[in-house]
Symmetry: C2
Subunit: 206 residues, 2 copies
Amino acid sequence: MIDTRERILDTAEKLIGEQGYAATSLRQIIAEAGVNLAAVHYHFGSKEHLLDEVVLRKSEPVNQERIARLDLVEASGEPLSVERVLEAFMAPMSETADQNPQFVRLMGRMHAEGLMPGIVERHFQPAIGRFLTVMRKALPGLPEEEFLWRIHFMIGAMAHTMCGAPDYTRVSGVPGSFRERIDRLVAFLSAGFRAPVPRGQKIEVE
Amino acid sequence: MIDTRERILDTAEKLIGEQGYAATSLRQIIAEAGVNLAAVHYHFGSKEHLLDEVVLRKSEPVNQERIARLDLVEASGEPLSVERVLEAFMAPMSETADQNPQFVRLMGRMHAEGLMPGIVERHFQPAIGRFLTVMRKALPGLPEEEFLWRIHFMIGAMAHTMCGAPDYTRVSGVPGSFRERIDRLVAFLSAGFRAPVPRGQKIEVE
DNA sequence: GAGTGATTCAAGCATACGATTCAATCGAAC
DNA sequence: GTTCGATTGAATCGTATGCTTGAATCACTC
């Protein structure tokens, strides 16, 4: 059997992306991959470690690219625009996604199932930390609380957008490129981030 | 045992909200509710029907309130503002949520686990249909495709916001009211909906 | 207070899960 | 050609799942 390890990873990525982690069994994975059950534990040790490997394999280059682009944006000297920072953070994901849609769907699932906090801590923290820093610089006037809430909104919109598309795209057949999705999303979010702060919110004290 | 049925519903709502549907077993539910396993199948027939009942019980009044408010906004004669339409759609949820946070979290989970399409079809279609109609009127200039994508972004942000809060709220202890969340979210989304359409998108043809 | 339908109980069903075991197999180094 | 570590195969472990069953219990009515 050629590249059993790789086939397990690919199939796990696909199935967990489609059905979620809890709802996908190892037996289903090995059946679809045409592989023996023991191979999973031999190569990965456990279902949990398998998931870790699936995420790590694809997220590593994405996050490195993110950091590189954020550095570039910050170093450019020009005044930081929200669009450019968002773009720097999202584009690497969309570029992976166009060749590899199931990985992005998996990311969405991870997030949805609440497995993200652990995964984020292990694999995404540096890139996200970098993003928050640069983004904060692009929005100096925004109260900290409001800033964090808007990041929260962004994460939700992003996860959902990675996971799926509106119904019409399924009807018309062509889902469109992730590039196009990201452009739309960046425009939408940028405006959201620049929205006036709603009245009645407490002024930042801390 | 007083009100076994009610206790099952409450506990299911709480646990499924916290852990997801697939990850929550009937045995866990009945253990926490202090109830017998057979009671679940006696009252609801199956795990799936239990979920249905859990959702229906709380969503029905919310959706009725939504429709009522949307009708009111549309009938007011004033030019429709995005804020007011969003507000009409979201507020009923937030008001339930303040007394009943676990239900809203459940909604987020349902959505996240991909159980939403079925649930939506059964229980949410009228309210959502009404919302789309009124919202469309508030945004007459927006191309249809862009409109649907922005609705998609909104759903993601909303589901995520219902599910949880940014980390700082967990640290500072006080999560704040849902009312406050919704105000922030409406401000954010309204600006997003009014954002200029990104260039390079195909002009609506159909 | 006997009878009746609604509800609860303890036990067990078949099935699936993640994990483990150990012999069989493979491939390259010596 | 033998040896040895890496990898796979088939079978099985203990546990948990959703669901079913039939007897026991409860709240009523007549």
